[in-house]
């Protein structure tokens, strides 16, 4: 029983870890590839073209 509870708890923590990693990942990609704010766009411009993000 204890083992089962522990593994449930572990699975839940892992689930949160995956969600956290994906959220941070999407946030970084939004900044580096998607956001259209001029400052960001200009700074990331060459990299966006090189990585084939849909730029301006």
């Amino acid at each position: 029983m204890t083992t089962q509870t522990a593994s449930f708890a572990a699975a839940k923590t892992h689930g949160l870890a995956f969600i956290l990693a994906m959220t941070v990942g999407v946030a970084l990609l939004t900044v580096s590839g998607m956001a259209q704010a001029t400052v960001l766009h200009d700074a990331a411009h060459d990299q966006r073209h090189a990585m084939a993000f849909p730029c301006h």
């Binding site: 870890a17 941070v24 999407v26 090189a50």
Partner: protein, 228 residues
């Protein structure tokens, strides 16, 4: 687990981002800067004295260090972002299917990332030289994200799903965005020479393939190491 996921993605993103940036400076950025000559009108294609030829050769990297430093920094941000998605998928697959993550299959994970994130969207929206007129950015971003999701889910179903029906659905999912079609303009503009645009598209895909292989390899390496 959380720490292992985040640190694996950061280390792998840093290595892949730095090497990809280096390769971009050798192969991609010179073509991009040459394209900007046409974007700005410093060079004009097809109009010089009625001749179809235009001068060939890039202006070189120049001394815009600030600009190039930003390219390096944003490559690291982008590859770390993709790295986080990749390690989350690797960790999830390991937990659900018992699959061991190794550098060997890390390479396959990386290649599948390349197919989903670079190759499949490039079939509808080829990597663009600066100055290429294109449809509105918002619908292109929607198609781009949709294609990445459909391809990634399709590949995951082929890798982990069982049965002919599941695999058939996966293939249909991968095909769907291309049948639907990416947003395009009704006319061609051809501001830059077609040879330059084609070379830019293929070489940037090649460099991205190297970046994704490195990302998959090192994500798996750090993820497996952290669990010991």
């Amino acid at each position: 687990m959380t720490k292992n996921l985040l640190s694996s993605a950061v280390f792998a993103g840093l290595i892949a981002g730095l090497i990809a940036a280096l390769l971009q400076f050798v192969f991609v950025i010179p073509l991009l800067l040459e394209g900007e000559l046409y974007e700005s009108g410093q060079r004009v294609h097809f109009l010089v004295d009625g001749m179809t030829q235009s001068e060939k050769g890039g202006p070189g990297l120049g001394n815009e260090w600030g600009r190039h430093l930003m390219t390096v920094a944003f490559n690291v941000v982008t590859y770390t972002g993709y790295g986080l998605l990749l390690v989350a998928a690797m960790g999830f697959a390991r937990e659900r299917t018992g699959l061991q993550i190794t550098v060997q299959n890390g390479l396959i994970w990386g290649l599948c990332g390349f197919i989903a994130v670079q190759l499949a969207p490039a079939m509808g929206l080829p990597p663009e030289l600066p100055g290429t007129p294109a449809a509105e950015v918002a619908p292109r971003q929607v198609w781009w994200i949709g294609t990445i999701l459909a391809t990634a889910i399709g590949l995951a179903l082929i890798a982990f799903g069982r049965g002919v029906l599941v695999h058939a659905v996966a293939l249909l999912l991968i095909l769907m965005p291309h049948l639907f079609g990416a947003p395009h303009l009704d006319t061609y503009f051809g501001i830059a020479p077609p040879e330059l645009s084609a070379e830019f598209a293929t070489i940037s895909l090649g460099v991205a393939a190297v970046g994704w292989c490195l990302l998959g390899y090192f994500s798996a390496y750090f993820l497996a190491r952290g669990e010991d």
